[in-house]
């Protein structure tokens, strides 16, 4: 391989990071009452499910965990050529007056979160919406910040952060790769 991807988190570090994020989410909410986690398709969904499991183990509380696909709320639909495949949105409960935490893998321009906020507004009026991301790579194009950050890394615009998770990729790892390598 011409330029080796640089590992940001290996499997154990990723697990540790998620545990810390779970603690911070519970602290931010002062407990688990009214807490709802919403993962963004795709990898945010699996990360949210893991955080819910960790919280269940530590606090003995089962927190509702939903999935949000923001494809239909994107601001670049007409420009992205071949249609991105639309994933499932699963939010079967009311979000009114709940404390919603959006979970995503990488926070970059903030446009995905902007779309997620728009979509959540169509599902109800939460008391509060917070944002938890595994990786904050900087480079925001909108006034959006994360409340809970797993790892902050400075990544040059030409590089890409790849999050691999067991559920979809067969392994847990976060790497920084050059834009052309890989997928």
């Amino acid at each position: 391989m011409p330029n080796n991807p640089e590992t940001v988190l290996d499997a154990r570090a990723l697990d540790r990071t998620l545990r810390r994020m779970a603690d911070q989410i519970v602290e931010l909410n002062s407990g688990t009452d009214g807490l709802v986690l919403v993962g963004i398709q795709r990898r945010g969904v699996q990360l949210a499910e893991r955080i819910v499991k960790i919280i269940a183990g530590a606090e003995g509380a089962t927190i509702p965990c939903g999935a949000l696909d923001i494809t239909l709320y994107r601001d670049d639909l007409q420009t992205v050529g071949p249609r991105p495949v639309v994933g499932a949105t699963h939010l079967p409960w009311t979000l009114d007056d709940q404390h919603v935490v959006i979970v995503d893998d990488v926070l970059y321009t903030g446009r995905t979160v902007r779309a997620a906020l728009d979509e959540l507004a169509d599902f109800g009026r939460p008391a509060r919406i917070a944002l938890a991301v595994l990786i904050d790579r900087g480079g925001r194009e909108l006034p959006i910040h994360a409340d809970v950050v797993g790892r902050k890394v400075d990544v040059a615009p030409g590089k890409r952060v790849d999050v691999f998770i067991v559920e979809l990729d067969g392994r847990d790892e976060v790497v920084i790769a050059s834009r052309t390598s890989g997928e």
Partner: protein, 319 residues
């Protein structure tokens, strides 16, 4: 290219199996939007869609309109009665006049086979065929495929029999193309006067007796006897048609397995289908209607992508 449908949706004969699967896969998440309290997403905001119907239609037009509105498109309905169409304007002139008002898509239904293609070759806007003569009705075919796939999973090797007035049916043609491409076995059953002469060339099994079709099939797609297209003696009488070809509970009870029952509507109860079959436990007729909106949303969404003029507008507009 599997990733897109191109400019128009004219018929399932033109699509690859991969393209058909893309539409069906895309339709599944769209179903959830119609379950929401706010049944709307902003995806096609700013797009104008004209529903140009030269033939009466309730279900298909409403279904398209719901699909368009749930994707936030602006819609205009043009029906023949009371429009300049009834003053002798040609199809192309009507469409060009609409285009001069800056539209993005046309959903067209027309009594002439090939009308949708004729239009698509002459205007810039995306064209969706909502039924052209006795040729094709692709979104109906797609929603039938989705309904069957919901129940059967993979359609490969499944036996679907299309019953009744195949001769006048664009639904039958779209079904035969779509089902064959997804690997299903297709049968047709009806009086020979209502089957096209060359039906064997479409790679289907022909049944003269409904009892034999029921023995063979996993699902029946029962077509409407198109009374309005029956100028002159295709069948002796509706009563006799029901006696010989009607799908009744008694006939279905003789089947070796439970048959899934589809009907594109509107039904002639007591003619091609009996009420206790239409309302029976294996009827998926209302699932078809629900799937119709989702499939049409998927088609609109897929056709809207990758168009240069929209890309430019997106660049100009706010993020």
């Amino acid at each position: 290219m599997a990733g897109s449908l191109g400019k128009d949706l004219l018929g399932l004969a033109d699509l690859s199996a991969a393209q058909i699967r893309l539409v069906l896969d895309t339709a599944v998440p769209f179903r959830e939007i119609s379950e929401r309290q706010i049944k709307k997403v902003p995806t096609l905001r700013g797009m104008t869609i004209v529903n140009l119907f030269f033939e009466p239609s309730t279900r298909t037009r409403i279904s398209f309109e719901f699909a368009e509105k749930r994707l936030s498109a602006d819609t205009v309905n043009v029906a023949v009665a009371g429009s300049s169409v009834s003053k002798g304007e040609t199809l192309v002139d009507t469409a060009r006049n609409l285009e001069a008002m800056k539209i993005d898509m046309v959903v067209v239904r027309h009594p002439a086979s090939g009308a949708a293609r004729f239009l698509a070759e002459r205007i810039e806007s995306n064209v969706i065929n909502a039924g052209d003569g006795t040729h094709e009705h692709p979104t109906q075919g797609l929603l039938d495929l989705l309904t069957l796939r919901d129940k059967f999973g993979d359609l490969a090797g499944k036996r679907i029999c299309i019953c009744g007035d195949v001769l006048h049916s664009r639904v039958a043609r779209s079904n035969i193309w779509g089902l064959t491409k997804l690997g299903a076995e297709v049968g047709v059953c009806g009086p020979r006067s209502l089957l096209p002469n060359a039906i064997g060339e479409m790679g289907v099994t022909v049944f003269d007796r409904i009892e034999d079709a029921i023995q063979w099939a996993d699902a029946l797609n029962i077509l409407r006897l198109q009374l309005e297209r029956m100028q002159g003696g295709y069948i002796p009488s509706l009563r006799e048609y029901n006696r010989v070809f009607g799908v009744t509970r008694a006939r279905l009870e003789a089947a070796p397995r439970d048959l899934l029952i589809l009907h594109p509507g509107p039904m002639n109860r007591g003619v091609e289908i009996d009420s206790d079959v239409a309302d029976g436990p294996h009827s998926v007729i209302l699932n078809q209607v629900t799937n119709g909106v989702a499939v049409r949303m998927a088609v609109l969404y897929l056709l809207a992508g990758g168009r240069p003029e929209l890309a430019e507008a997106a660049k100009r507009g706010p993020a």
